[in-house]
Symmetry: C2
Subunit: 421 residues, 2 copies
């Protein structure tokens, strides 16, 4: 079964805005076994909009639009579709009462314009919108389904989950999409592909996509099937095989971020952490504290940009900075050990490097970063060279630091490499 | 003059990928006075692709595609368009030599598949690609222009700038787009609109878009004209009037971020800054150090999550935390004053609050944040309540902190409100 998505709104044809609703819709449609075969983005223009709906209806069994259901003159999706399908538009008293009620609750008078939103094409099903005034509409025509959804993402998502999903599931028949995701650090994309291609190419029924970003690779597995059990077994089998092939480089099979995985490891081991950052400027602390409840493991961190503060806050000896340079394995180590001692945390992380664009030298070029992890025993230190601009160097450094903490717990707990599936 | 954009690639019809090339293309086309009237996203499917090009060519004078020019079997844009326009595909020896040369330079053998990229439709102009092997192609047919560009953003951008822009400019005639942007903090969107609507509604030839995000509003002004001088004068006039109406709430008329504006103010005043953060977890330090050369004004910062570290790192008296609570105007003030004293910086910023989702109480709910700015004289403190989730609360708090620094320098330097245009 095929669907097309039409995003409506002149603002989506400017350089400022992108249609993002279609990502959510694609994900949900895919889960129901419905493939998205085309996306069209049109402005608030009657002829263009009519043309887009007419053509999509020629090609696809399901056409879903977002936007153009608001109260203003620009919002014409409802009228255009009614007209195209030869349906009369009638004022629906129930919908109108719902809109008036909504205004009463927030203590405001309904403006005349909002009555437009209560106009319903003949034979259309009204899809209640719990988050806004514009209801969605569902129409059937010549065996095709047309679903009009409001543009605001929170309204569209809630409405889809409550009103559209089940209706589509019935129609889509038994075919559904099943998926798995693995997230990996510490391997270049080409190495990763070389290791796992022999696995995924064996399964012709499963679609494999590899997405690489700075310091992280995601592997998406997707299969379309009517057979829940068989498909789940096959996907688990592939995840298992990839996990063995990539071993401890896999950090998640549950779509969790690296900082979430690190937070879990810290909590599980009742460990605490502190940070002493230079070139990352607080990014590592910021990522560690993105997670709700981070105060259970994060004690504190310093961003010691100046050399004096490296000494004052993390006891890095001034002579060491003088003799080895601020960007050196020795200073990274001293930062990690110093901050750990100062805060009394289980682990201490130190980062120092050249984020660029300025400040590089032939010996210490832009992109060189030293990262150290102290636990009171022998401090681990890694010198890395990250390509890219300032933002990418900083991100990659924070990613490597988090990954060092993750691997520390893998070793410390003697856990078998690779996450449990 | 109207253009349509076709993004080609099955990966763009999955939940993982969005076509972002069209934002760049729209911006560049708009500058040349060409409006984008539709965007279509299709997979690597011969029938779909042919249909998309055929329909776009019926409607628009310029059709630009991205993607599908690579060396693999999936890359069919070149063949589909040649076939649709009835053009023979010939191997172009010059293009082939270029591709071979490219491979030689990186020390690799050209694979047979890459020869596909040297196939050129009869009568097409080859657009040299300085960043990759796939050249762009430009075809004219019945007075319409078809431009095929490679998908990788860096290749597409470089190729457009060097090979497409001028050709399109000639064709587009004199009409061009002119634009201005103002960025604003400290006003709700409705207040802002009430103040500036009387201004922008007077100018019917200028299109005004207001985009609101957490702690920041952008005002985009766009006009299409053949008359450079007149249009520039009108736009400057509107910017001037809006700047007066919104006064010191405007922080940029040059598309600069708030942290860039703060960095400039610090540098210009030869001032330094330090930070003591709690709920923002290092985000303020991270934003202050995003700017290249930030070591000239940023000395350092602490993320004192635990109460002990607030005392140890910023001299916040333990009794004060005990009596007023960690989230209080007094502790924010002590953090700002303490970190300033410790680092010897010109300014010190202290932030403490409840980012959520847990930790809120009836007196101190999630979203409550206290922010203080110390300069050695009377410390300024603001208690704010930010709506939204953890991420939004943290971002809004960092935004307000940066804005307090910006406004401090406006007052300190006695600068006339509003930036220079």
């Amino acid at each position: 079964m095929k669907a097309e998505i039409i995003a409506v709104g002149s603002e989506l044809l400017t350089p400022d805005r992108l249609d993002t609703n279609s990502l959510f819709l694609t994900q949900e449609l895919n889960k129901l076994g419905i493939e998205v075969s085309r996306k069209t983005i049109v402005g608030d223009n009657r002829a263009d909009l009519r043309d887009a709906f007419a053509q999509s209806l020629e090609r696809a069994e399901v056409v879903i639009s977002s936007g153009g259901l608001g109260p203003t003159e620009d919002d014409i999706t409802r009228e255009v579709v009614a007209d195209l399908l030869g349906r009369r538009l009638d004022l629906n008293p129930q919908v109108l009462a719902g809109i008036q009620e909504r205004f009463r609750r927030i203590g405001r008078q309904m403006v005349e314009a909002n009555a437009r939103q209560a106009m319903v094409p003949e034979g259309a099903q009204v899809l209640e919108n719990s988050r806004g005034t514009a209801p969605g509409l569902l129409l059937e025509s010549n065996g095709r389904l047309v679903i009009l959804l409001p543009g605001p993402p929170d309204e569209l998502k809630a409405l889809f989950a409550k009103q559209v999903q089940e209706r589509l599931a019935k129609r889509a028949g038994g075919l559904r999409q099943f998926s798995r995701e693995l997230r990996v650090t510490g391997l270049p994309e080409s190495d990763l592909d070389q290791r796992i291609a022999p696995i995924y190419t064996k399964y012709s029924s499963v679609n494999t996509t590899i997405l690489a970003a700075a310091g992280e690779i995601q592997i998406h597995l997707r299969a379309w099937s009517k057979d829940v059990r068989e498909t789940e077994i096959i996907l688990d089998e592939i995840v298992e095989q990839i996990s063995v092939a990539l071993a401890e480089n896999v950090f998640s099979t549950r779509s969790t971020s690296l900082e979430e995985v690190v937070a879990e490891a810290l909590n599980m081991n009742r460990a605490t952490i502190s940070t002493a950052e230079s070139c990352t400027g607080g990014l590592l602390a910021e990522r560690l504290t993105r997670i709700p409840g981070s105060s259970s493991y994060f004690l504190g961190g310093v961003v010691s940009y100046s050399n004096d503060l490296k000494t004052a806050w993390a006891d890095v000896p001034a002579e060491l900075i003088e003799s080895r340079g601020a960007v050196s394995p020795e200073v990274a180590t001293a930062l990690a050990e110093g901050i750990r001692r100062r805060t009394g945390s289980t682990l201490g992380v130190g980062i120092t490097g050249v984020a660029g664009p300025g400040g590089g030298t032939p010996e210490k070029p832009v992109g060189l970063v030293h990262i150290a992890l102290a636990d009171g025993g022998a401090t681990r230190e890694r010198g890395m060279f990250f390509p890219g601009d300032r933002e990418r160097v900083r991100w990659s450094a924070s990613q490597t630091a988090l990954d060092m903490v993750r691997r520390y717990f893998l070793r410390a707990t003697g856990k078998k490499p690779g996450p449990k599936v």
